[in-house]
Symmetry: D2
Subunit: 154 residues, 4 copies
């Protein structure tokens, strides 16, 4: 099943109007095998999403957690790694909205090294009330921005 | 699809003879929302597998990368997060061998907080030749140990 | 100046009754040079202090930040690295109270690999009111526990 | 003593021609107290130095470790934290060469939030032969570049 997802992900072209951001692979990302230690990729994914909020949605990421006390943590996170990342690489990440649910949004993050697909991540982000630790519907401003972004990427 | 996996994972009981290890959730694992920052879980997963090698397989993890130059990185990594992890929690991780392939092994790592399933991770670890950066068949000692462990957990 | 500190630190014996804890050096701690990436040591230092609170002071670390809203962050942190840490090493950390101030405590953390001093860290931890982001005097329970521990180590 | 260093560091102006780089404080840098978890700063310091090599010295950082097998790890690392770093902050780091030794260089990294000094780090980086794990004199290209940079900052 994961193989099927991977091939599908690998085959799907990245829309021209998708938001993109470069990420430099640092010394600190790499392990004794000389390649990116995979847990650090998940940290990179979160940073990409954090930048995508103001960069593509026009929303301030930190205002959700800090001011509105709305959590944006994942119920599911996964990645398929096609090629190892090396120190000094510049990867270009895109963010795609795969599905907008009632209390969640599914994001897909392909990362390219020039023309080569290095990895694809998928995050199912759930909006939660941090006081009560339970899922809540996507706030209206977030839902509207996600729909708008999804439309732009068609 | 991820939902289906999650329910399946949640329903599958952990075999009595599976290897287990406790993991303490620390201050450093937690984010401004006061819960575990999910990328740190992937670091925890790797540490659990690192301990499972000598603890259950009788093999030294670091000898693979350092001495034999065989990489043990994942081609796929995923997790379903059912409940947030909190500072001070003690989670008990088990490691299960779901599938032994030619050049890969699929591991499942459920984590419990007492009787409650907190998360389930799944890692498809591929053995690679670190000199040539390509997949190689599972070494015989690793394959034998995995089969033995799988048998024990039945 | 740092050299002088180092030599002093190296020369000072660790009191027999000091609290100690073992720390295993993991794959994830190490960098492409094959040795511990030094920023991870600072994370280890914080984890050692976190365990020292209940283990030696009889106080719950997380209750300070979470419940009492008292920060325990450092105003100063430093380390002298004498020997590289390697994957698979088991380092034994001790915690020593060098100085109890009005709103701060200076801790010294030597780490041994068997008989060999690998590093010495020094942390000046300041108690802060997290609501108002200003230093506050050490709470009485913490001061008493620190004095008691300091006495025990004489 | 650390207080003296801090005051000195705080008082020393940053030369106009010093190399600078902005660093965004992310969600992942912050802890349950809502401020930067200090060990992450040390990771930031290393990233700043990594960028300073090509940006100011005209040398490729990763070539040292990977190709020339020359380690650039610190024998000493320290920081004075004057103000907490908050999610969303943009800190501007400068790198200053305080002292060029035989087999080491002492760097000072002040970080500003607009006009305010947030922290100052100090790293004593030692060049080591990674094969033999011993200190070696600064390579000529590195020494020349350091002297040139030091001159430029006067």
């Amino acid at each position: 099943m994961s193989a099927a997802v991977s091939e599908h992900a690998a085959a799907a072209p990245i829309p021209a109007r998708a938001w993109r951001t470069p990420v430099k692979i640092r010394f600190s990302h790499c392990d004794p095998a000389g390649i990116v230690y995979f847990p650090r990729y998940f940290d990179i994914f979160n940073g990409v999403v954090e930048d995508w909020f103001p960069g593509a949605l026009g929303l301030e990421y930190r205002a959700f957690i800090r001011d509105r006390r709305i959590g944006l943590g994942p119920a599911h996170a996964e990645a398929d790694f096609f090629k190892p990342g090396l120190q000094g690489d510049e990867l270009v990440f895109a963010v795609l909205v795969d599905r907008i649910g009632n209390a969640s949004v599914t994001l897909r993050l392909p990362a390219m090294r020039r023309e080569e697909l290095i990895l694809t991540a998928r995050l199912v982000i759930v909006t939660t009330d941090l006081h009560e630790a339970r899922a809540i519907p996507l706030p209206n401003d977030l839902r509207a921005a996600l729909e708008c972004y999804q439309e732009r990427c068609r």
